[in-house]
Symmetry: C2
Subunit: 371 residues, 2 copies
């Protein structure tokens, strides 16, 4: 009988064999793609001093962290809710003397005590890569390329990348389209929700054309350039074009220059990754400054759940599994495993090989198909 103690807390789940297998395969593919581009994996711990984690992130996320008191130091510890800040800490401390650019990648579980209303999951598998020491066009081009290769490696089809300019409003308000500092946040919000009426009401009438500089990259970037009369966006626009050119035909590129959801800490460039089969974003990235060390960096993060959603509709590869009856030749079985067979050995002698998922049965040194 299953008691309530056997249930899992809301937002926490077991990944059973089929899902766990898909996770392992996707994770290996993503890590292999990052490794091929020269990114070294690091493994920070699950738990750190709360101050160390919180001090390197923006305000909102810290309130959702799991906290507890360390019986050793009596200080507050927290379960990590984001690995990017841990990579920043490593780059700023133990790897401060490593040559730049420093390429690091990671894959690991992060936990949030309080679930998001839109996403009840309280544990996520986060994967990503960070190029530390540069936030220029070359770094951004490389990071977008690595992200695309990682998704392709995992089997994601029809990849599209949506570019944004996270500091667009500040840049324009400082130089070309003056805005009362008090109005900036309202203008950002109305641009984000793409509400023309609200934007005008918030005093952002001059920003209205930005709402239409969206869509497929080639046309949208032309519209953005056309409204940049003062040329304050010129270097950003040239950067976007250069990144898009290095991507070429490997992914569909779109532009949504005012999108800021998920780009709270990015600087001039941000991007969102999409793929066939997933309703939402597969991941995000961009340029930023590491909080604390103030070093320039560019990176991206993927999350396993939307990746699996995107991959979910594909049929799993049929696997050949060999049943080994009682008294089978162990050396033959070992040789067959060495060439890639998966084996399932009899324990009681009363097993039904088909029920155990076997497709073949060892007879002497022959693998006979089970009909």
């Amino acid at each position: 009988m299953i008691s309530s103690d056997d249930l899992l807390p809301v937002g926490l789940e077991d990944a059973l064999p089929q899902r766990a297998r898909a996770i392992t395969e996707a994770m290996r593919a993503v890590l292999d793609a990052m490794d091929a581009h020269g990114y070294d994996r690091v493994r920070p711990p699950l738990v750190e001093f709360e101050k160390s984690l919180a001090g390197r992130m923006e305000g909102v996320a810290t309130r959702r962290m799991v906290r507890f008191t360390d019986p050793d130091s009596l200080r507050t510890l927290a379960l990590r809710s984001d690995m990017t800040v841990q990579i920043g800490r490593i780059a700023a401390t133990v790897m401060a003397a490593a040559p730049r650019p420093l390429r690091l990648c990671y894959a690991g579980d992060v936990a949030l005590l309080k679930a998001d209303q839109l996403d009840p999951a309280r544990q996520r598998l986060q994967l990503g890569a960070e190029l530390i020491g540069s936030d220029g066009v070359a770094a951004a081009s490389e990071i977008v390329s690595v992200a695309i290769d990682a998704l392709k490696g995992a089997g994601i089809g029809n990849i599209s990348v949506d570019f944004t300019l996270p500091d667009l409003v500040d840049t324009l308000a400082d130089k070309a389209l003056p805005l009362d500092p008090a109005a900036r946040e309202a203008v950002r919000r109305e641009l984000d929700t793409k509400d023309a009426g609200g934007l005008t009401a918030a005093g952002g009438e001059a920003y209205l054309p930005l709402l239409y500089a969206t869509g497929p990259f080639a046309e949208a970037v032309e519209k953005l350039a056309a409204l940049d009369v003062g040329g304050v966006l010129a270097s950003r626009i040239a950067g976007l074009r250069a990144i898009a050119e290095t991507i070429g035909a490997r992914a569909r590129i779109t532009l949504d220059p005012t999108e800021r959801h998920g780009f709270e800490y990015q600087s001039w460039f941000g991007f969102t990754l999409y793929g066939e089969g997933a309703r939402g974003a597969l991941g995000r990235g961009g340029t930023y400054t590491i909080k604390g060390s103030e070093e320039a960096a560019t990176g991206f993060s993927l999350y396993m759940d939307p990746l699996l959603e995107a991959l979910g509709s594909r049929p799993a590869e049929a696997r050949k599994v060999l049943f080994l009856p009682l008294g089978h030749d162990r050396d033959v079985a070992a040789r067959l495993r060495a060439i890639g067979w998966r084996t399932v050995a009899a324990i009681t002698g009363e097993e039904d090989p088909a029920v155990l998922g076997c497709t073949h049965r060892l007879d002497g040194d022959e693998a006979d198909e089970i009909s």
Copy 2:
């Protein structure tokens, strides 16, 4: 400047590139070996209800778990300190209807709030396999074989397996060498410390010969059989011989029938894994009954730290890394990555390829060795 907030709590560490790479490689090798024997990986969550975890384990370990209150359910949650109990829960609940024997494996981080005096690590990477539905000789033989294959796959040399009989004292005391129930614990303890004087003082004089039935398996099991005058150990001894025979020459086998450290919940059979280069055990396993569901099972666990210690003395494989200068042909670089090259692209144009660890430099479509 590094502030104290940037330090990690005692017992928690970053695995930097070299170590993280060794972990990833060893983990893949161990998982692949378990997979080849038909073990399906599952991924239970990092956090569960404390009652669910504690209810399935022995007393001591539960006091070392990290606990906190769930803001959602207001119940106490805990960070897992052992994955075996999670596999037991999965087998007893969501996979209760799956055909037996059920073969599951796992690899993941576990955390202990309070460090052990002998081992300050508060986070460990645990890996293992469980065969659920049997605790007989065939199950034990398979589990020992899988453990050996996992260690060999990870590159461990000179593997030895030390067999033990965890319920030996109870079996003898019930049937052949009567012992006051009050004396059993003392006798077990003196056998464990191999103290002949203490054993006699504890009233366990009749158990003295057990202290000498240890060492290389063939001789030690003969000594054990010779002192089993009543034949109460006959089935256990036959079991040990059968397991040893299936292992053959793949590992050195020893017997220490009274060893019980680390075998608090095993039944008739337990084993400890050793390998060249590690001072302590690489892992342990044996037969047991899943607490709660009372189903028979056999399994083993490995820990990454001693595995890495054993592998540490080996030189890392030299890797060819290709520097891609500014303006390189991206298609050529992609083709080279596809055939296994690792690339490191120029970002500023001022990098020294050798400092970044590169062994080759792309010139047109040629990889020139850097001298």
